[in-house]
């Protein structure tokens, strides 16, 4: 792409125009969009694992059905996103199989929260309440992405997330109005997930790649803007439940309209995500590999089933 073509592309971006899969685009733009959507899609798939652990142990049939439905939605979102990424990656010779298996070899990362343990039923609720809440805030900011196929598919994903949000809140509310033991479970779970949620949006000082994504308007809000939106929505809700947030620095400044908070351990979380070194990373990746490889014969059989049956 010549300098003039690049300038014309950037003019389109700054005019707020949207880019389609078949448009001319700088290689850097293509690679950044693939990186973003690939990571997003794989995170949806890996995001099903912590909750799936609770399907056999759900406290009643309705909760079990809801949890299965949510797991099914998350895998479905992964499929939709990988499809979008795949259209952009095809000219680079990259297809679905590789996009899926990259997670086995650490060539694609997934969100820090999905590396963490979900030891009690309260975690199933807190994941729906806080992790989905955070994910919706992030995804809402991408509804205006310059890459149109991504923005379009996110409309559907956000609509389906509305059930996830209510489902998570329903579990949390049931525990919050329950016994001391149940309230204790809820508080422990909040304590467990809070630092992960602060890391979830990424460091205030963004990476070079994230900065480029902002310039290309692939994403439109900074990490810190998203984190502030999250804190502003969810801290008052946690407090309303009579729960505490494990951060003594948490404070709203009515002049700057910003929250102060304790930084999560950036270095540790960063290392964990990069090296799949979290408490559940390896176990969940192994399950993912087992599912993918164990079902290879089904994918193979489907090709055979699609082949014309010779007439007698």
């Amino acid at each position: 792409m010549s300098d003039m073509q690049y300038q014309e592309f950037m003019n389109r971006i700054s005019r707020g125009e949207k880019i389609e899969a078949t448009d001319e685009m700088p290689d850097e733009y293509r690679k950044l969009v693939i990186k973003q959507i690939h990571m997003h899609g794989i995170s949806e798939v890996m995001g099903a694992y912590p909750e799936k652990e609770w399907v056999p142990k759900a406290p009643n049939l309705r909760r079990k059905l809801a949890l299965i439905a949510k797991v099914q939605d998350e895998i479905g979102h992964g499929q939709l996103l990988l499809r979008v990424a795949e259209d952009l990656a095809r000219p680079l010779g990259k297809m679905r199989e590789e996009m899926i298996t990259d997670v086995f070899t650490g060539r694609v990362k997934f969100h820090n929260v999905f590396h963490m343990e979900a030891p009690t039923w309260a975690d199933a609720g807190i994941i729906g309440f806080l992790v989905d809440g955070g994910a919706i805030i992030t995804q809402a900011s991408l509804l205006d992405s310059s890459y149109a196929p991504y923005a379009r598919v996110l409309q559907r994903i956000c609509a389906e997330e509305s059930f996830h949000m209510q489902h998570g809140e329903s579990i949390v509310l049931a525990l919050a109005e329950g016994t001391e033991y149940q309230r204790g479970m809820l508080q422990d779970s909040i304590n467990r997930w809070w630092p992960s949620m602060m890391f979830f949006f990424g460091p205030t000082e963004m990476s070079a790649a994230a900065d480029r994504m902002m310039e290309y308007r692939i994403r439109t809000k900074t990490n810190e803007e998203l984190r502030q939106k999250f804190i502003n929505r969810y801290v008052p809700r946690i407090w309303a439940l009579g729960m505490t947030v494990p951060d003594d620095k948490l404070k709203y400044d009515s002049e700057t309209k910003l929250w102060s908070y304790t930084d999560p351990d950036w270095e540790w979380f960063g290392y964990m995500v990069k090296n799949n070194a979290g408490p559940k990373s390896q176990e969940r990746i192994a399950l993912r590999r087992q599912a993918h490889e164990g079902q290879a014969w089904v994918r193979e059989a489907m090709i055979r089933a699609g082949e014309a049956v010779p007439t007698a």
């Binding site: 949207k18 309705r62 059905l65 809801a66 439905a69 949510k70 939605d73 809440g133 919706i136 805030i137 809402a140 900011s141 509804l143 149109a148 923005a151 379009r152 409309q155 956000c158 609509a159 997330e161 509305s162 059930f163 949000m165 209510q166 489902h167 809140e169 329903s170 509310l173 919050a176 109005e177 809000k221 939106k229 502003n232 929505r233 008052p236 809700r237 309303a240 439940l241 009579g242």
Partner: protein, 124 residues
Amino acid sequence: MGHETTNGSKDEVREVHYDVYEVFVQREILAHHVHVGSVVAPSPELALQVARENFLRRERGVNIWVVLQQSIHQTSYEDTDLLANQVLDKSYREVSGYSENAQKWKQFKERAITVEDLVNDIKS
């Protein structure tokens, strides 16, 4: 519309049959393409022209797809089992199945929120 041409002779009339294309119109850039009907045309390029004349004389559109009708695979209306996904109560996977959340939040002196609230937070 006349799809017939003569080859010059008074007796022989050669019938010309065009292909059928199904038409999908995208009304705005972040909308999905929606099926609006079909046209006949001798080529994809002309099908796009005819589709514009037929379906976008008044409304605004930003993009049109035409797909050869024979390339479309569809379910059978008779095969009701395939799409019979509403036989069980699915309120557990609908927002409406969680309406009691709002009363519970009220007991905790908080307001229930929806995805739209979070989307609006981003716009503000």
